[in-house]
Amino acid sequence: MAVDALPVADRTITEVGALLRSREVSSRELTEACLARIDRDAERLNTFLAVGRERALGAADAADSALAAGDAADRPLLGIPYALKDIFVTRGLDDAGQPDGGLPTTAGSRILEGYLSPYAGSAEERLTAAGAVLIGKTNCDEFAMGSSNENSAYGPVHNPWDESTVPGGSSGGSSAGVAAGEMYFALGTDTGGSIRQPASLSGVVGMKPTYGRVSRYGMVAFASSLDQCGPFTRSVRDCAAVLGAIAGHDPRDSTSVEMSVPDYLAALTGEIRGLRLGVPREYFVTGMEPGVEAAVRDAIKVLERLGAEIVEVSLPSTDSGLATYYIIAPAEASANLARYDGVKYGLSAGEDELLDNYLNTRGAGFGAEVKRRIMLGTYALSAGYYDAYYVKAQQVRTLIKAEFDAVLADVDALIAPTSPSVAFKIGAKTQDPLLMYLNDACTLPVNIAGLPGISVPCGLSDGLPVGLQVIGRAFDEATVLRVADAYERAAGFDQLRPPTAHD
């Protein structure tokens, strides 16, 4: 279907941004179109945990005034409706401690039900400054722990491509909502694949920037050495625009790096002739669906036809990635989640004895996967097991990173599948945590090494989207975006929309 024929809610930021600037459409109209989709799909998809209708319309009117005043130069997100994964705090209390009309933040957990943040995070601040219109907070796996969005305390998200399947996770509300035309972009968080994998399963673009590129201030912490935030969009160009708005040093996140942010839109030359692209053989894992492998192999041929030099490379420690991740991430999580103590905020069991209050608050407030990871992490950090598990995993982390560094000294970027499968049925993997963890085999090594990675749609298998992953050198998001954009232009899968998107 040609872009001109798409309803306005299904178009890209680039397209509706041009319409905003030429005053052919208003930000209020875009916001109303998104709200109509959200209302239509609320029960069917369950993408949102909170919608801020009146505030969004107010922000849209302010954007329309700025556009009318000709105040739109270098503000590609001005007037564009977006959503935040409910892992990002949004200010909801004023200085007197009273609700200020802002949205609650739950992290998908009962333990934070009704929590109103007393401060705004970096994501909300920067996107507000960019003039974007916050429309709501999206559903996600509890504390971002999951690969299917089935671990949300507020019910699973349904994939708009087939409502009986998962959208991927943990940022499933963000990926499904962007696919379904409920907002033009969303932010997610990616600790082991939680942006790229749902982007792949939902048929949208999703990028995890380099660790340190985007501030984590105001992101509910899961695993602090792995967490990173990034965009979901319907095109690589849109992704570059959003990344440009959120990237950059923030003194409030001491792991955010003081490094200038390049013009990511200028990097999208469409030209990849002469680039050396590595295909790591270990990423074509056993158990990969044939339709996924076929789509990714076809995509590699497209890149070759565009003039890139394709070379097979080896990352031999790849099969240690899963084990390394499932020690380090739960260990960090067990420490981070100690803050939910029933005293300062969130759920409290109200017990008279302090220990009982801890036990019963946390026992009642956390879901099964969160408990499993807290247990696993506490065990790995406990006396007698610390060296065998945690230190060992950190040593293997060194090996994994060194292998990436060596390979990326020789090639400009890596090409791989994002996920070994397309979207699977809701309930298909919930009984077996290990089976669920395998979804992230191709994405979590990238977090372990802290590198940037993007997932871009590369076709359908059995009618469901497949994602191509491009992985780059640390802080070289520009090359990752350039490769993904050149591929997208040649392949044309940015026109993919779920069958239900069209009104």
Partner: protein
């Protein structure tokens, strides 16, 4: 293999109240996951140091100057129990204990 008592011990360390059914389920699942992650023991790391984080930043400092902080009422706005300008917590130290 971790025992039921191990599970109870770790749950106590994590201040996590688990039901009997949860302890049973957790014992089986943790054993399977630990067996899977145990594959790392076969990796030779004798000459490899640990990596705690991947970027070359350490000891990020800021100037030690006073600046405005969060308003007290905002900070207390989510408190489950409070008393005046303070969080109320269960008794920790008590005479005769």
């Amino acid at each position: 293999m971790i025992s039921r008592e191990d599970v109870e011990h770790v749950a106590a360390l994590a201040r996590l109240g688990l039901t009997d059914d949860e302890i049973d389920l957790m014992q089986g699942q943790l054993n399977r996951i630990l067996e899977a992650v145990g594959q790392l023991q076969a990796v030779d790391t004798s000459s490899v140091g640990p990596t705690a984080q991947v970027i070359a930043l350490e000891n990020v400092m800021r100037d030690d100057v006073a600046r405005p902080s969060m308003a007290r009422e905002a900070a207390l706005g989510n408190a489950p129990q409070r008393e005046g300008p303070m969080l109320r917590v269960p008794v920790i130290l008590e005479e005769g204990r």
